[in-house]
């Protein structure tokens, strides 16, 4: 068993993070989508082929995930085929052990499809399927909190993982490597919703960009930030645009002269009028911080859920009262939305107000919040915990999906952890 290479695949709704365990140089981050140009063109670009495009206007997306759960296996298979192909990872499934992530509270009928696909269609030698936040805890989490005196233990006993991804945000408390499932909470806001919301706002106020998902996503990643003083920034936004620090002028790509949009220097814009080409400019004002603000106040668009800091408090309050302090002082932020500038500081700031004053609030964020789970998975692979959960193809053919439900499930782990 130990001879087989272990493939770690964090199968996210936005990107697949795949590579061989203990070999970070093999890690690939591949967009989990197929795109077509539409309008009569039939060429499909799968996963990493997206990067080969030079014109990102009006792409038609096909995604395997719907609201965070895998529903389109046809698209997913072609993306996995591409990932396992010689061009990328050159995987030979029959001699490879797969460690794959799934969303929290995946549905049994969808899990059954995972098993069928992995064992029957691909015929992997063995497989282990876990939820993504579980793997985060296998990193050197203590190193994220530098203020602390060097800890003996790389992994604190209690960790609160805040995984804000493409489809939704999960708050997952983990006690000695086991998720407390009864205290896991989900906010239905993720990167996709933010991009779509920005798309609608921009299309209403400025240019019609409803078909330009790719471009709008780039605008979001370039311009948006999490405000530390939301009301103050709103006031600033009302001021004269010329000397307003918030207003940015984003030059949209036209895919002939520039294939990538960029933020234009405001001082230069006035004298460049003699340029024969006029740049198409999108002025970003309050859009820059009201979009990420949805993570903190979903009620801003009428969604009846609390934001991240309040939900952290809700989640912690559902665990055993002796552990509350430990959770508040070991919060780990992962997922693509953590890349917004100011995200960590804002969570720290809001949480300090909401959490009981006797607890210390410490928030840590890895250098790369997107691949952190994969690195955790890479450490996890081959550990005794991993070996206990592993199901081989032979066992699957003998016992069916049942054995996967038993081994991969975490429900028995929570006994006695909640109040």
């Amino acid at each position: 068993m130990a001879d087989n290479p272990i493939l770690v695949m964090d199968n996210g709704a936005s990107t697949i993070k795949a590579g061989y365990a203990k070999q970070p140089e093999t890690l690939h981050v591949i967009p989990n989508c197929k795109v077509t140009r539409g309008k009569g063109e039939k060429t499909t670009f799968t996963g990493d082929q997206l990067h080969k495009l030079s014109d990102y206007a009006g792409l038609y997306y096909r995604l395997p995930f719907e609201k965070g759960y895998l529903t389109n296996w046809e698209v997913q298979k072609s993306l996995w085929d591409r990932t396992f192909s010689r061009d990328i990872l050159n995987v030979n499934p029959t001699s490879t052990s797969l460690l794959i992530t799934e969303p929290c509270f995946n549905f049994p009928n969808i899990q059954h499809c995972y098993d069928e696909m992995i064992f029957e269609a691909y015929e992997f030698y063995a497989c282990c399927r876990v939820i993504a936040p579980y793997l985060c805890g296998y990193n050197n989490v203590s190193s994220l909190f530098p203020s602390q005196t060097p800890s003996v233990n790389e992994r604190p006993d209690c960790i609160l993982v805040v995984d804000s991804g493409y489809s939704f945000t999960h708050i997952v408390p983990i006690v000695v490597g086991r998720p407390v499932l009864t205290a896991v909470r989900r906010i239905n806001i993720g990167g996709k919703l933010l991009t779509n919301h920005l798309k609608e706002i921009v299309s209403f106020r400025h240019w019609d960009m409803m078909d330009q998902t790719y471009v709008v996503n780039e605008i979001k990643e370039t311009c948006c930030y999490v405000s530390k003083d939301f009301l103050g920034d709103l006031d600033t936004g009302r001021r004269n645009p010329k000397e307003n620090p918030i207003v940015q002028e984003y030059v949209l790509p036209d895919f002939s002269r520039n294939s990538k949009g960029y933020v234009r220097d405001k001082k230069r814009s006035s004298r460049s009028t003699n340029d024969i080409y006029e740049d198409q400019v999108l002025r970003m004002n309050n859009e820059r911080f009201t979009i990420p603000e949805l993570l903190f106040h979903p009620s801003n668009i009428g969604m009846n859920q609390a934001g991240i800091p309040e939900t952290i408090v809700e989640s912690v309050s559902l665990t055993h009262s002796d552990l509350h302090g430990l959770f508040y002082s070991n919060i780990v932020l992962v997922g693509g939305n953590a890349s917004f500038p100011g995200y960590k500081e804002r969570i720290e700031q809001d949480l300090r107000v909401l959490a009981p004053s006797e607890y210390e609030v410490r928030v840590g964020m890895p250098e790369n919040p997107i691949t952190y789970t994969w690195h955790g998975g890479s450490n996890y692979a081959g550990s005794p915990d991993h070996r206990n959960k592993l199901v081989t193809r032979a066992e699957y053919m003998e016992h069916g999906s049942n054995i996967c439900l038993q081994r991969f499930g975490m429900s028995e782990d929570v006994d006695g952890m909640q109040e």
């Binding site: 039939k42 046809e74 549905f107 609608e200 009428g302 309040e310 049942n402």
Partner: protein, 184 residues
């Protein structure tokens, strides 16, 4: 269906319709593409799924059985039957799980303890006023004018939406007219 919507300009949109248009707006934010193009959805399909009547056993109690020996083609054919998440949730019967078992449904975050802020549906800054017909917020006379200019279209569209929604559970196309009007 018996409920009447005042079509006249100046007619007030009732609470129910407002809620529905909000729900629709939120659903719209989960779209992969602005418009669905069915022919592109099928692009690259190698194996055409059989009619569902032939493969109806997919969601039965297979989990307890040994996997039958099937050809790979047959397995893929079954896996490729596209079901929406809503159907899958219904089929998984999570709502029947015992109360102390955490599931997708129990994990949703609770509502906030703080009152929602109000934003102008036109410019996005804080707003003080409500449109008395549809409840959309606006912050100034200029924004009100923009809002009034474009308001009549969505009333009709929303009515159509409701009729459709009542007839069957099919999710209708997002209508361009509604975007940004902030029926929140």
């Amino acid at each position: 269906m018996s409920r009447k919507i005042d079509r006249r300009p100046g007619g007030i949109i009732d609470e129910d319709t407002r809620r529905q248009s909000l729900k629709r707006r939120l659903d719209g934010l989960e779209r992969d593409n602005y418009q669905e193009v069915p022919e592109l959805e099928l692009l690259g399909t190698v194996i055409k799924p059989r009619r569902t009547s032939e493969v109806g056993d997919r969601d039965g109690a297979i989990a307890n059985k040994k996997p039958r020996l099937r050809s790979k083609k047959e397995i893929l054919r079954q896996l490729y039957i596209k079901k929406s998440l809503k159907t899958l949730i219904d089929e998984s019967r999570v709502e029947l799980a015992s109360e102390d078992m955490p599931t997708y449904l129990t994990a949703a975050a609770s509502p906030s303890k703080f009152p929602p802020k109000k934003f102008c549906s036109v410019c996005g800054f804080l707003s003080k006023y409500n449109c008395k017909q549809c409840g959309a917020k606006y912050c100034s006379l200029a924004c009100k004018a923009t809002h009034t200019d474009m308001r009549n279209t969505p009333v009709v569209e929303m009515e159509e939406y409701r009729d459709e929604a009542e007839e069957d559970d099919v999710e209708p196309e997002l209508v361009a007219g509604l975007i940004g009007f902030g029926f929140v």
